[in-house]
């Protein structure tokens, strides 16, 4: 990254659990500078991302989460360790959402399908909708594990 105005608002590295998520939501709630709409979008995205990290961590729940400001945009970057299969599923789900014209309508259609025996994955749709599709997921080998990085950008208009 070569951007000169790149600045961390919050950075966390360590064991990711529900306490971590509560910490981020509290920090954002206490922030008096960010506009309400942006804070709200950051919270909704972090809630889905961190809940997902807790559920899909591969043995080790170690990871990093940051909120950064670059020029007029805000970025959430998370890394965690998971499986190749999870990574491929997430990539494929993002590609599937990209092809959908009305993401909110798709969210509601999925919600209609929920039953006591069947849950649906609304988290990624929620994130995609909030960041207007500006989401990237990459992976790299880290020893025997696979490190997955999410990079989500929220534009100034949020």
């Amino acid at each position: 990254m070569t951007n000169s105005s790149h600045k961390y608002l919050i950075y966390f590295e360590g064991t990711v659990d529900e306490t971590t998520l509560v910490f981020f939501i509290k920090k954002l709630s206490e922030n008096k500078i960010l506009p309400n709409k942006l804070k709200s979008s950051l919270k909704f995205i972090l809630i889905e991302l961190i809940t997902n990290m807790i559920s899909h961590n591969n043995e080790d729940s170690y990871g990093s989460i940051s909120i950064q400001k670059e020029n007029h945009d805000y970025m959430i970057i998370t890394t965690n360790f998971s499986t190749e299969q999870n990574f491929e599923t997430v990539k494929s789900n993002i590609n599937a959402i990209k092809k959908i014209k009305n993401v909110k309508e798709h969210y509601n259609d999925q919600l209609k399908n929920v039953s006591f025996d069947k849950s649906v994955n609304l988290g990624l749709i929620e994130i995609y909708n909030r960041c207007e599709g500006d989401i990237k997921v990459t992976s790299k080998k880290a020893g025997k594990q696979l490190q997955i990085t999410f990079k989500i950008q929220l534009h100034d208009s949020n």
Binding site: E18, I25, N36, S40, I47, E48, K112, S115
Partner: protein, 120 residues
Amino acid sequence: MILIEAKENSPYILLDPSKHFMILKGNSFMANPSQFYSSINAWMSGYHVPDGEDFHIDITMGYYNTSSIQIFNLFLKTLHANNKEKIKLKFYIDQEEEDLQESANSLTFNTGIKPIFEFY
């Protein structure tokens, strides 16, 4: 009666079937919401609003994760299906948190319940 104290990521719940009301207040973004909501789901499956009565639900909205939304949407849908036109739901929403209305809409989407919104 079911009483659950609030935590930072889970709501306060007071459910009193004898007085026909339930109150929820706060966030719901725990990692395992199905476990959290199991007691009220178990109660709901056998509950019918008595003749001549309504059941009132007051929800002061906080931040919900999508897993909680799914579970609570299904809860409301089933409660309404078992008690047609007897579920009266009111949402209380902080006017500085306008996005919470979207979550409230998702909670009631396709449930048959027509909620009332009050902004404070």
